[in-house]
Every structure is written in structure tokens, then in C-alpha cells.
Amino acid sequence: MARFTSIQTNFSTGELDPLLRARVDLQAYSNALEEATNVLVQPQGGIRRRPGSKYILDLPNAGANSVANGVRLVPFEFSTSDSYMLCFTHNRMYVFKNTVQQLDINAGTIDYLDTSSYGLTGARLANLTWTQSADTLILCHQDINPVKIVRGANDSAWTASTLTFDSIPKYAFTLSASNPAGTLTPSAVSGKVTLTASTGTPFSAASVGQYINASPQGRAKIVQYTSATVVQAIVEFPFFNTSAIANNDWELETGYEAVWSSGKGWPRSVTFHEGRLYFGGSKSRPSTVWGSKAGLFFDFEPTEGLDDDAVEATLDTNTFNAIVDITSGRDLQVFTTGGEFYVPQEGLDPITPTNFFVKATTRNGAKEGARVQQLESGTLFLQRQGKSLNEFAFTDTQLTYVTSKISLLAGHLLKSPTRMALRRSVATDENDVLLIVNSTGGSIAAFSLLRVQNVIAPSEWTTDGEYLDVGVDLTTIYTVVKRTVNSTTQYFIEVFDDTFQTDCAKSGGAAASVSMSHLVAKSVQVILDGAVQAAQTVPGGGTVTFPRSSASTYQVGLNYTVQAVTMPADIKIAAGTRLAYQKRIIEVNAIVKDTQHLVINDNELPFRNFDTGGTLDEAVPEFTGTKTIDSILGYTTEGKITVKQTVPLKMTLLGLEYKISTYPGG
């Protein structure tokens, strides 16, 4: 057996799909991990322990208001200094600011806003869409009149109301025409005219909005009802003259009604774009996009087709396209179950009724409920069946949008995804992080993205429970987690926090105990002044008493396992490849930064250094440099290195240099 030395300089491919296990020809293979659990890939290539989560609130777990019936996190950015995370559950809205729940909403006695009057039931939250401008948040679901949430004078002043439209566009769901008896006499041939029928009762109050057609010419829209024989109308095409129009030479065209109503359903998706409010799809018109009049966000009925008039277009393609989301990016982008569309605009040309077209681009289809996310490079969306994560981006070379599969190398991490949120990087040692909640298994697929460098590094985040939702308030990642505590299902609002190494955790300063009543009977990790103590089971009373009082800090929470496994070693020697040959990792040099704990191939590396004051029951010093472990035993055909953490301490792994022994012959 001969020995070779190799190095994995980075992990910027993240966890690689098992289907690519043999693709040693890919450049990504050498930068990949076979498993990347509870780690986050950094833009420089290293991996670090994912942030722990801070406990914020227990959500209802019983009755109609239980989170089991539905939950949704909706960010709300009121100003540069005031941003919130709104958590909707069945008929309730909880408000969080800077990870703190806002209490006594509207100076009342309850800590949530009652939304029971607006149809925000738990079952509807899964397909809720929203958009926000200044102090107003608009929520849409096809079964309810859009709801307006407005922040008032302070953090706990919130009001909800149904959105009142100045006008709603009309549509003839069932168009019909009748020939009333008698003649019809217009008072003028054009403009606003009075139409007088000679006999019968052809008109009623419901005639408003309907049309009169005349022969040889004339078409008018009824705008006002006067009596059963007299109406006022706006002429769309002039009448021939003002003589009485003979019976059977005029007809009443009916069937036009408000396109949104309780009977016909309401808009499904919403966004603001270039001074208009846009709705995408409705229950009865799933493929139609409506835009308000410019600057008049609630006025949707078009009049003269002028440039600032309301716009409306129905997708006309050879497939059924129910709109699931609509977003304002480089252009107005429309995501449907059948494909991706955009509203083309040239230069600074505005959208007007005469150029409001919706061009089809790609045919992936988007998943309803998982809201699309805007990245600098494009828009991220989940494929209709949730099988892939795609990026919808404009290309200057083709002058159109194309879709690329972001999850091409890690499709296995998408397990029936339901929710998606993006945390944008705010520092050079951060990537954009796209978090996708999987309904199967309750994990989070965390995609660390640096698109300008073509970095897509996925990993999987797990916890003692299931993630149900995730939302980002500027830089703060909120999550809703379902955990089984003391044989009871509990739902928690938690916040990912880089200063935490445990989940559902509480922290504080000097203390002798802490109430962990939300985790009764769970085994929790206790970290006092940076030193990990023995795990404890939270007693029935919920109070965890520390083995000693903390002098400066404590943290108590659920541990989670961190594990990264390299791909099977690919040794290229003169005699050929050695991918499936017996081989043995003999020695590993782990290049780490600010690391307190590491286990490599089940061998725990020493970090505590008694020379520098690192006595027991003190914080383990953070180590930066190379940690070496040798004399590792065991031949396998894979030659993988497993890096993990069993205790909640810091870890950043930058690279792995390793010595490997394998058969050298031809």
C-alpha cells in the first residue's frame, strides 16, 4: 500500500446529491460533502456550526387556534428602525419586534390581534400571499376579501380591516343578450346619453354596468338607472342617429359583474409594482393579472384605456396557468402552475393598457404557498411539485428570462418543501441564505448562496422536532418549530441566533437557575460561562437549577448534532483512479478557526489547553490553526472523513488535509 496526501480546500459545493456519488469528473465533487448537517457554508469556503435558536414564545397547541391548523410568518418593515415579524395562526396575529413579542395589542388585555372577522383561518394560511408598503400590509387568499393590516402609532397598535376597493373590474362570467320589446331612443348619438325604451320594463338597477348594442351601429354602457324604461349610458360607439331604434334592432347585453366577490372569489397573489397594485389570479379567473390605476391602488376598473388607467390581462397560452405568485423584480414577474411569465418593458417605458403583455418564458411551474424570493441575480422559486429550486433570471445575451436549477446538485434536500425565506448577507463572511422548510421530516434545506461567484452550497438543518415555517425580518430569522415535549405537541416561535449553540434555548447573565417550563422532561444542555455542563432533564416544575451559578452568562437549550462527511476520497495516481478501491485515512489535518470542539472519525480532538488557563469548568479556548489527528485505523472502499460535534460549542472548519493509504498498482 502506498500513501498519498490530498487536501479538501473548501466545502463550497455543500452537500452533494447521492446521485452524483460517482461524478468525480465534476469540479464540484472535490469541494463537496456527502453530508452537511447543521452546518452553514461560508463564502470563503469553510463550514461552521449553524446558529442555535432562541426561544421566543409558545404558540397555541390546542383548540381551534392551534398551530396544527395553520401558521404563517409574515415580515413587516415599517421603517429603518421599526421592523416586525407577524405570526398568523388561526384567527390571530402575533407581533414580534427585535425578537420580543409585543404585548397588550391595542392596549387591550390580549397579546395578539384578533383576525377572526376577516377569514384568516388556519387552513387559509398555507396559501396566503402578501405585499407591504409603508404602514400597510395587504394579505390575499382566494377565499377572502383581501385584508389590510395597518400599524398604528406604536409597536402594539395594529388594526385589521377588509380592503375596500374604489372600483372592481367587471367580467361577464355568463354573457347573454336579450331583445326587449319596443323601441329604444337615444337622446344623442355619442357621449353620455339617455336611452328611453318605448314599452315594457327592460331595465333595472342591475342593468348598470351592462351594455346596449344597436343596429346598424351603436354600443353604450349603462352607467345609471333612472326607471324601468330610462337609463343613462356612455356611448362606446356612436348610434346612427337619434331616431327610435326599432324592436329587434337593439339588444341588452348582460352578465357583467364584479370579477371579485364572495361568489366569484378574490385575488390569489399581490404585489406593488411601479406605482400600481397588482393582483395575480383569482378563484374564478386564475390566469388573469390586474393592475390598479397608477397611484390609485384600490381603483381597478378601467375607463378610457389611458396610460395611467387600470390594466388587466389574461394569460393566453396552450396550457392552464393558475397564477400562484407575482413579484416586482427587474420586471413584473408572474409565476403560475404552468410556467413563468413577465411583463416586458423597454427601458423606462411604463406599463400601460396598450403595452400590458405577459410573455411566457419557461415552463417549470411554481409551487403555491412557497413565496418566491428576490435575489440580486434573479428570483428563486420552487418548482410546482417542489422537486427543485429554480432561479428565474434575465440574461443579456438572450434578452429574455431563463430558469436554472439551483438545486441541481442537491435535489435530495428538497423533501416536499412548503415555505421559503431568504436572509440576505450583511457581511463579507456571510452568504445569502435561502431557507426552505421541508414538510417531510421537518428539516430545513439551507442554501448558502453567492451567485456572483456561482456558489450554491446547500446543507440540512435539523432539530429535535420539525420546522413548520421560516421568515426573515431584515436579518433576523424566525422559525416556527413543532416539538414533542413531555408527550405533548408544542409549537414554538424561535429565532436563529449566532450567539446560541443550542435550540429553543434561553440565555442570561449571572443566575443559579432558569425556568425552562416550555421543555419539561426534555434533556437540555447547560452552558455556564462558556463551559458545557452535564446535560439535565427539565423537571416537572420547569426550573433548571445549575450545578453552579453562572458568573457572567448561561445558556440552556436542546443540543443538535453537527456532522459533515466528505465525499469518498478520489485519489488520482499514475496507475488510474482509486475511487472504489480499499483505502484508509491515516491522518487528518483539520484547518479550523475559532473552534472549541471537533470530532473526526469518532476521535475527539483536544482543544482545552491547560497551559493557558484553560482549566476545567471554564470556557474552552477558541482555537484557530491546524488540529492533527493520526493513526486512524480501518480500511474501507470509501475513505471518507466524518467531522462532527457532540457538544454545543463553536466550530468553523476551513479545510481538511489528509493522508491516505491505498493500492498503488495498475
Binding site: P169, Y171, V189, S190, Q217, R219, V235, E236, F237, P238, T288, W290, P302, T303, E304, G305, D309, V311, E312, A313, T314, L315, D316, T317, F341, P344, P353, T354, F356, F357, V358, K359, A360
Partner: protein, 197 residues
């Protein structure tokens, strides 16, 4: 060529033969008086002729103006038809653009724009047709006006000629009297007007 009553009268005048002129038997006794009467008579004739010519010119001008108005009216009708043709082109382009743009051309904004186009084109069509009607009416008025002016010119010419003949008669009376009946040809019956178009 059909000739008018005036044409016949003018052509039948016995010019250039003073011996055949009516009343010559009394006037020629005084050569100066006869000359004055002859000159006045010729002047009367000239006035009459001028009136006739002016009437014809006015009548022709009326006809010309009517023709111009008629032509303008037809141009308006052409524009009205062109408006409808343009509308059809616009609407078809709108539908084609909507299809090409991936949207239903018969609902939403395309439908609104189509209705707006129809309204605008309808109004334009209507205005052109009204202009056409007005132009036809203006042509009729111009023609009637020309005929009326022609009638006035004839009457003025005849009146002036009559006045001059009266003067000639008076002159002749001083020299030997004046036989009114011999000059009936200078007092024609009222002119008939024709209805043109």
C-alpha cells in the same frame, strides 16, 4: 345647345342698321337728337348686356362653389370611411399584438383599448359625416346665393338700360316725340330662374 330666353333676345337684336331701328322715322329729322338718342340707346343696350354677363358669372360662381363644397363633402366621407378602415386595422393589430404578447385579446386591457378605439373612431366618423353634410348644405347655399345674385345683376342691368332708354326717349321727344311701343324689346318679362341640382 339649349339657349335661354336672354340668349335669343340678344341674338335677335338688330344691331348696326339704324334704318331698321324702331322710331327712326321721327328721330332722324334732327341729326343731333338722333345721334344722342342712338348713343343713349346703345348705352342702354350695353348696360343690359353687362347685367346679363354679370348674372351669368355669378351663377357660374355659385355653381363652382357648390361643386367645391360637394367635393369637400365627398372628401369628408372618404375620411369617415378611412377612419373606419383605420379602426379595423388598429383593432386587428391590437388583437394580433395581444396574442403575440401571450394574453387574451378579448378581455381586460385589450378589450378596454378596443372599446376606447371604437369610441374615438366612432366620434371621429360621426364628425366627418357631420362635416360632409354641412359641406353639402354649404354648397346648396352657395348655389342659391349665386342664383340670387345673378337675378339681382340682371335686374340691375335691365333697370339701368331702361333708365337710359327713358332718357333716350325724352331726348327723342324734344326732337319729334317718342313711340313707347316701338321699344318693348327693352322691357323683357321677368327672368326665370333654374333650379340647379
Amino acid at each position: 345647345m339649349k339657349m335661354s330666353r336672354f340668349d335669343v333676345l340678344v341674338n335677335d337684336l338688330p344691331l348696326g342698321d339704324p334704318h331698321n331701328a324702331p322710331g327712326s322715322s321721327k328721330i332722324h329729322n334732327d341729326p343731333f337728337t338722333a345721334a344722342a338718342v342712338a348713343a343713349t340707346t346703345l348705352s342702354a343696350y350695353s348696360s343690359y348686356q353687362q347685367g346679363q354677363i354679370q348674372a351669368k358669372q355669378l351663377e357660374l360662381r355659385g355653381r363652382l362653389e357648390q361643386t367645391q363644397f360637394d367635393r369637400r363633402a365627398i372628401q369628408y366621407q372618404q375620411k369617415a370611411n378611412e377612419t373606419l378602415r383605420n379602426l379595423k386595422r388598429t383593432q386587428s393589430a391590437l388583437a394580433a399584438r395581444a396574442f403575440a404578447g401571450g394574453i387574451d385579446p378579448f378581455s381586460g386591457s385589450p378589450d378596454v383599448v378596443r372599446a376606447a378605439n371604437e369610441t374615438a373612431a366612432g366620434r371621429e366618423f360621426q364628425i366627418y359625416m357631420a362635416d360632409s353634410d354641412a359641406s353639402f348644405r354649404a354648397g346648396d347655399i352657395a348655389m342659391q346665393s349665386g342664383i340670387a345674385a345673378a337675378k339681382t345683376a340682371r335686374q340691375a342691368g335691365a333697370f339701368e338700360a331702361g333708365t337710359k332708354l327713358l332718357l333716350a326717349g325724352a331726348t327723342a321727344g324734344k326732337g319729334g316725340g317718342f313711340d313707347r311701343t316701338s321699344y318693348n324689346w327693352l322691357f323683357p318679362a321677368p327672368v326665370e330662374t333654374r333650379t340647379v341640382i
